[in-house]
Amino acid sequence: MRDWLTYRLSDLLLFSPRTYYRMLERHNQAIWPAQLLALAFGVGILALLRRPGVRQGRIVAGILGLLWAGVAWAFLWQRYATINWAARGLAGLFAIEALLFLWAGIFRRDLRFSLRRDPADALGLTLFVAALAIYPWLAPLTGRSWQQAELFGVFPDPTVLGTLGLLLLAEGRSLWKLLVIPIVMCSISAATLWAIARAGPAP
């Protein structure tokens, strides 16, 4: 542990921004047209928010479980792990979150998603819509190719952001358990993106 404390965040950024963003692009190319399915799931969740109920909670939780499992396997395990040895640990966290959604939403029928007129719900809806419709624009808006766009349900960051938004709209006894991993992932992603932003081009 003492050894690990001698490392700074920048020491653990193992790849150049170019390598990272090309990896996003190659993933998008490899899985096309699965992005359309992820987008359809996201829009479907948005539509279901207007129909609260047990059945709705099970469907939304099932979709989220599926998407978290998909990101864990297809992106984190299969692709990101090729340049980051910590990615398999992240994949494990995503897989646990996927199981938690299935357990809480489908088996315990403990989740409901609804839109009320309060600030927390407004924030939740804003986060989810941002993850679904605005996050993919970050690539072209920051001078990168469209092919590097990150979609909800395909890449970790927008999936985490959108899930946090949905959990702000949710009710259920298991809510706090479902919030832990997205909050941890948010912190890890923020630290990684900060380190990437600070890194210059590869020498």
């Binding site: 050894d3 001698t6 193992l14 790849f15 390598t19 692709r79 340049i83 081009p201 590869a202 020498p203």
Partner: protein, 309 residues
């Protein structure tokens, strides 16, 4: 303390050639076959070009075929310019596998001096990690194995010394970077029979000049200088500033060459290991290992100039 070194036929030939070159060009700096400046590894006399190739970040490109091809091109240019030492670590993601890809593509250049590390907190898992690294590189054995950042060095170092005694590695060393745990590094250098120490040394990070480099000289330990450009930050910060006119006199045509010549002109530094993903940069770096090197008064002038910017 005895320094047993198992010397291969290649090493003997290299040492013989180096000895011949030394008689012509002086005891410290010699010329390799392509005119590249070289220095002797104190424990064996084998000579190494003063500029090597690091792989931190630049070679961690995963399975991306385009980026892998770029790395192989960098390696091709490195060997063509007389380079030998390539340094990597299990910590560097896919870098070892990418080096292995490049070596296979280049037909396993015989001049390669393979330097890798063991980086795992469990001593019992060290041999397995080294074997995995060796498979990534596709080499029969490593020339140099180092304990990365002193991680679990008390367990790894005896194992590496046993490997050396058994002929399964030629040299053993330790590494640190950015000034970490220098007291401990000195303790190991003073008490253990190691061949190499790898430390951060560049025109602004010169802490090792005070104790570690003199100790390396006293203990006949070769020194690898990492982070010569502070991971590119030094070059980026100097890029807009003019090179001093007198830099032509030391054969530096660019900031990269200026910075590298400063490092390798220290008589105790065996080689610097800049990392790059660009062929133009590796050629520029290797050119710093040719021509004359600054003397001590020129080195002081170089420091004053950069610190004054």
């Amino acid at each position: 303390m005895g320094r047993q070194t198992l010397v291969s036929r290649r090493a003997v030939l290299g040492a013989a050639a180096a000895a011949a070159a030394s008689s012509l060009f002086g005891p410290l700096v010699g010329l390799a076959q392509t005119g590249t400046l070289s220095r002797a590894i104190p424990s064996s006399g084998e000579r190494l070009p003063v500029v090597g190739l690091g792989s931190w970040i630049t070679f961690n490109v995963g399975n991306d075929p385009e980026l892998r091809a770029e790395c192989a091109a960098v390696m091709r240019a490195f060997f063509a310019a007389g380079g030998r030492l390539i340094d990597s670590s299990p910590m560097y993601g896919s870098s070892q596998a990418v080096i292995g890809y490049g070596l296979r593509k280049l037909g396993r250049p015989p001049s390669l001096f393979s330097a890798d590390k063991v980086w795992i907190s469990s001593g019992s898992e060290g041999p397995g990690q080294i074997e995995e690294s060796r498979r990534h590189w596709s080499v029969p054995r490593f020339d140099l194995l180092q304990v990365h950042n002193l991680l679990a060095w008390e367990e790894h170092l005896p194992m590496l010394l046993d490997m050396k005694a058994a002929g399964r590695v030629r040299y053993v060393g330790i590494t640190t970077s950015e000034g970490r745990r220098h007291e401990e590094v000195q303790k190991i250098m003073a008490t253990r029979s190691i061949d190499f120490v790898q430390v951060t040394y560049n025109i602004l990070d010169r802490e090792v000049e005070e104790r570690i480099l003199p100790l390396a000289q006293e203990r006949n330990i070769a020194v690898i200088a990492n982070r010569p450009f502070r991971q590119g930050a030094l070059i980026r910060s100097l890029a807009a500033r003019p090179l001093p006119q007198w830099s032509e006199g030391i054969g530096a045509a660019s900031w990269a060459q200026f910075l590298l010549k400063f490092i390798v002109s220290h008589p105790v530094i065996t080689c610097a290991i800049p990392a790059t993903s660009q062929v133009a940069h590796v050629k520029e770096n290797m050119a710093a290992a040719t021509g004359r090197l600054p003397d001590s008064s020129e080195r002081r002038r170089m420091v004053a100039y950069v610190e004054g910017l």
